[in-house]
Symmetry: C2
Subunit: 219 residues, 2 copies
């Protein structure tokens, strides 16, 4: 890498961090707690958002920003459960950034919203380095991905407040050592909260929902 | 994006393409056919390489380059089935590039090798834009990822010669419309070859193996 590239990269990251701080302040001033959801493609980000939003009904009001390279099928799924939503199409970009979230916040109806899910692009790597202005970061690992992922993608596990281990209904058919996996994640991130859930059967969602309610408690 | 970034990006891509062309020539001169394997984390890239290498024994000689952000567990799995292998740790980078592959080719023993698998970093997005000097590109989609992925990550499906639909042994427990999925993929890439396999049970691997043998037939 030639030395002239470094200032360019620093300038981009600096600008992103400044915009992320603005987003966090904007949301905080409105009493909205933002959760950035990171995971590989197909881990269950959209299912987690829709299941959680339904479970939170009457206790917390939820909105969502959906990030994808193309299409609006995730946003349609979220809207179908009555959640106000804005879709961001990155047009090829491999992660959301704070500018895109800022534009989405200009059009999203946030009156009375307690909890804003920001579903990042399906990618275990690139989204990790970009602060969007969230208050909480949640990653999802799913059972079919295998229990070796913390070895290979340590960054995502180190950077999040909570890890949702999804698709536990598939444990009878897939070799996955949950205990060893949890120990490995904890060695990377000793303060992480972990939840074992199935967005298909609903198993384990209660604990996650209570944790989200605790984090969105207004002062 | 400020206009001064564009020349920088062009220079990087131009350099990568030039090195990729060198890699392709280097491999071609030695009778080695290179296959770049792209997929999301946990789709089964390493399993596909180990299962295929075993099935090709006595018919084609296989080597591998394993790309990961961190660790060498994939390379160890590949070496365990007797395949010469080099691990590239990208140290955070979200895809392999032609420079990294060139360095790996300097140390990999290629005498008598017919087929070189290059396992890219687990990511459906970033590896698509980087030619490594391969002759064939193969993507893997796995059943648990869901049948909506071509809507959301069209680039990977458009860019490959073949798609392996892996983990078909899980079809009884996961809703996935294989026919609709295949139609969607074909609408993005009419000339794509598709294979339905299970690297766990071995189902469907024969057809893939014959296809690889056909592609590596020496003149």
């Amino acid at each position: 890498m030639s030395p002239d590239r470094i200032p360019v990269v620093e300038r981009i990251m600096g600008a992103n961090d400044a915009l992320a701080a603005q987003n966090r302040e904007f949301l905080g001033a409105r009493g909205v707690h933002a959760v950035n959801v990171l995971a590989a493609p197909g881990a269950g980000k959209t299912s987690l958002i829709t299941r959680t939003a339904v479970a939170l009904r009457g206790r917390r009001s939820v909105a969502a920003i959906e990030g994808d390279i193309a299409s609006s099928i995730d946003a349609e799924a979220v809207r179908a459960v009555g959640v106000p939503v804005v879709q961001i199409n990155t047009g090829g970009n491999c992660h959301l950034d704070a500018t895109q979230v800022q534009r989405a916040l200009e059009v999203l109806q946030l009156d009375g919203v307690d909890l804003l899910f920001i579903e990042n692009v399906g990618n275990m790597i690139c989204p990790v380095g970009f602060d969007l202005g969230e208050h909480t970061r949640v990653a999802i690992s799913s059972i079919p991905e295998g229990d070796d992922k913390p070895h290979k993608y340590p960054g995502i596990f180190s950077s999040v407040d909570a890890l949702v281990i999804n698709k536990i209904d598939l444990l009878p058919w897939i070799p996955f050592d949950v205990g060893e996996f949890r120990r490995l994640v904890q060695s990377l991130n000793p303060r992480i909260a972990m939840f074992e859930v199935s967005c298909t059967t609903g198993a384990g969602l209660d604990q996650l929902v209570e944790w989200l309610i605790e984090r969105t408690r207004r002062a």
